[in-house]
């Protein structure tokens, strides 16, 4: 078996082992396509620890590895451990050949120069949603590709809406009215996550974007108006102030526990809701004016390939093609309640499963969170989450909070 640890640059001269490994790099680089030494195994890393994703990821990697003639050693990490582990790997020039990362994290890794540009590697991008490809792009180069994507929509409790004689809201005004109407006793009209990090930001972004605001001008009147919608909902009592402490899973619990008649949440909650046997419906997120396009942030994970030398890169791309084959993509989407990354497959899914339709509908206009800011996104994301919290907790007006957040946007 070939050594799986091939440093790209022999930084630590002096140790004979490293020098030997360095020579090995040279030899593989020289022989390149010659192929007298076959790559026997590849490594992969992801954070799909929950079943059934855990099992399917393992099976899919095994099958695709077999097709490409390699063993794949899969390493699954808890979600919050993945980035630290990848950075650790990067520091030792030993990134896994294949990695599945959350799409807003991709620019951080791509910026290191450790990832293989996929178009250069001859990856076929035909049939994919342009928005999906954009979410895997850093500085005009495609580094990651998603097997499926997810987005946000409005979930409604059908029984509660029927009882109150309320139709699922389509505009902000309707949302405001419906939420007020549905608030009764212990039940709030609406629930969403306004927690102080990326999860809260990502829930707020559709409101921000669909009102015409951008991530680079957070103090614009459009952005302020969007945040005022949220803080008004809290002030009017239609949304619990505790939203500032809720993750999306907590929001789902509120909905399941009859504490909220509607919620803003992602498609991956569908399997959870189906298990609980509640009567619910899914509609696209309300927009400021009737007829405008919903703009949800593109969610989901992308596969990326590390620059680990010619032979290994080739094999990894081969495995990637297989992971993203039509069959695997469909299976992946069904299992996770994700939208397939290819247009045709997604439309088929929308027909077969009406609950998925609003999510499929939102994909073409879905936005990459990092398109405007690249590596600066995490910093700005934190600032937005803080601003949302300030406005909802009533410690600052939407305008004050957002002009403070604007200070963290780098000037270009």
């Amino acid at each position: 078996m070939l050594s799986t640890h091939i440093p790209r640059t022999p930084r630590l001269r002096g140790s004979s082992a490293v020098v030997a490994a360095g020579l090995l790099t040279l030899s593989t680089a020289c022989t390149g396509t010659g192929g007298d030494e076959e790559v026997a195994s590849l490594t992969a890393m992801d954070y799909n620890l929950a079943e059934p994703q855990n099992g399917t990821t393992a099976t899919m990697l095994d099958e695709c590895g077999e097709q490409a003639g390699v063993d794949i050693e899969r390493d699954a990490q808890p979600r919050d451990q993945l980035m630290p582990r990848l950075l650790q790997g990067a520091s030792q020039q030993d990134l896994p050949d294949l990695m599945l990362v959350d799409n807003p994290d991709l620019p951080q890794i791509a910026a290191t120069g450790a990832l293989l540009p996929l178009d250069e590697a001859g990856f076929d991008t035909g049939g994919y949603y342009p928005s999906v490809l954009e979410a895997g792009t850093h500085e005009d180069t495609l580094y990651g590709i998603a097997p499926g994507v997810n987005g946000l929509a409005l979930f409604t409790d059908t029984a509660k809406l029927d009882d109150a004689g309320v139709d699922p809201p389509q505009t902000w005004d309707e949302l405001r009215d419906a939420a007020a109407e549905l608030t009764e006793g212990d039940t709030k009209g609406l629930a969403f996550s306004a927690i102080g990090h990326e999860e809260g930001t990502w829930t707020f972004e559709p409101f921000l974007w669909s009102n015409g605001a951008t991530l680079t001008e957070l103090d614009s009147p459009e952005a302020v108006e969007a945040l005022e919608l949220w803080s008004d909902l809290v002030e009017e009592g239609s949304v619990a102030q505790s939203a500032v402490n809720w993750s999306q899973a907590d929001v789902n619990d509120q909905f399941l526990g009859d504490r909220a008649a509607m919620m803003v949440n992602g498609s991956w909650q569908l399997p959870v809701l189906d298990d609980e046997d509640v009567g619910y419906d899914v509609v696209p997120l309300p927009v400021p004016e009737a007829g405008s396009d919903p703009a949800t942030p593109m969610g989901g994970e992308v596969w990326a390939v590390a620059r680990n030398g010619g032979e290994r890169e080739e094999k990894a791309v081969e495995v990637l093609q297989c992971l993203l084959s039509d069959d695997n993509m469909r299976q992946w989407a069904e299992l996770n309640a994700y939208v397939p990354a290819k247009e045709e497959a997604a439309e088929q899914l929308a027909e077969d499963d009406p609950q998925m339709a609003p999510f499929v509908e939102s994909v073409p206009s879905a936005r990459s969170r990092t398109a405007e800011l690249g590596e600066d996104y995490p910093d700005v994301s934190t600032a937005i989450a803080d601003a949302v919290q300030e406005a909802l907790a009533g410690s600052a007006s939407a305008e004050e909070a957002l002009s403070r957040a604007q200070q963290s946007v780098p000037e270009n």
């Binding site: 020039q93 951080q108 402490n245 934190t382 919290q389």
Partner: protein, 295 residues
């Protein structure tokens, strides 16, 4: 002499390896622009004290320092006070003393994630038991946003942390009380000392060395409290419960700016060191006084 080196070598190696190296690496990291890219390229431009300047110029810095101070001072005061009161209480003999004492240990035995989650339920604005009880008793008219108001979140988080720390204080102080000879109390009683005077003139001075240790350990524990805050509020809302510890974490692993995170971490170490020095000095000057009294 060689034998002495033989005994010292392992501990020196241990200290250098597990304390010296990480500390030095952290200081080095805080002087560089250390981002995600630095891990791969190995390039982290030296920026001098720029990270410290950036951190201190950030509006969150003042909030985090003030929060850390309030959180630490209030936690120490109440943990120690309540712990001491309980320890004195359990010094008396009464039935079920042992069982009650072990029950009081529970907060200390529970994983912080578990107790944090329970406190989150207690503090919940709509259906938390605290609001339900207070509303039922007519103490408040409307539900209090314990964890979702920027004004109340910090006291709430502090209360949870105090609850977690009481057993530790109680156990150690109880141990200290056991070592005070009973005849001193008898002698004090014969001299006509009441309960308060016995506490003031016998218990308190003889408990001083143990108190010093408890407070010192408590300080270090509290400065680095992380889990309780993360579980309850994640440092929110709007940084209202952000301490230097949680902020350092969010800078490093949320914004992936490891230089800034390291700078905050180092500032925290400096604060801890300062307090330790002050405390150890205080201890040194008070030790002879205690000894004199004992004679």
């Amino acid at each position: 002499m060689p034998a002495r080196i033989g005994f010292l070598a392992p501990i020196v190696v241990f200290l250098v390896l597990f304390f010296g190296y990480p500390l030095a690496a952290n200081v080095a990291m805080s002087l560089r622009e250390y981002t995600a890219a630095s891990f791969y390229t190995g390039e982290a431009p030296f920026v001098g004290l720029a990270n410290y300047a950036a951190v201190m110029g950030d509006p969150v810095f003042t909030t985090a320092v003030a929060n850390t101070a309030v959180f630490t001072a209030a936690s120490l005061l109440f943990q120690f006070g309540i712990g001491l009161a309980l320890a004195v209480f359990f010094q008396r003999h009464f039935p079920l003393n042992g069982i009650l004492r072990s029950l009081l240990l529970i907060p200390w035995l529970l994983p912080l994630v578990v107790s944090g989650t329970v406190w989150r339920w207690i503090f919940d604005q709509q259906y938390g038991i605290l609001n339900q009880t207070l509303l039922g008793l007519g103490v408040i008219d409307s539900a209090v946003p314990w964890l979702s108001s920027t004004a109340i979140a910090l006291p709430s988080v502090t209360v949870a942390n105090i609850w977690v720390g009481i057993p530790f204080n109680m156990v150690i102080l109880y141990g200290g009380l056991q070592s005070i000879p009973a005849h001193l109390y008898e002698a004090a009683s014969l001299d006509g000392a009441g309960p308060w005077q016995r506490f003031r003139h016998v218990t308190w001075p003889l408990l001083r060395p143990v108190s010093a240790v408890v407070l010192m350990l408590g300080l270090v524990y509290t400065l680095k409290v992380f889990d309780v805050i993360m579980v309850l509020t994640q440092g929110g809302p709007a940084n209202a419960t952000q301490t230097l510890t949680t902020w350092s974490y969010s800078l490093s692993f949320g914004e992936l700016d490891f230089g800034l995170g390291a700078a905050v971490g180092n500032l925290l170490i400096v604060v801890a060191l300062l307090f330790s020095v002050v405390y150890l000095r205080g201890l040194r000057s008070s030790a002879p006084a205690t000894a004199r009294k004992r004679r």
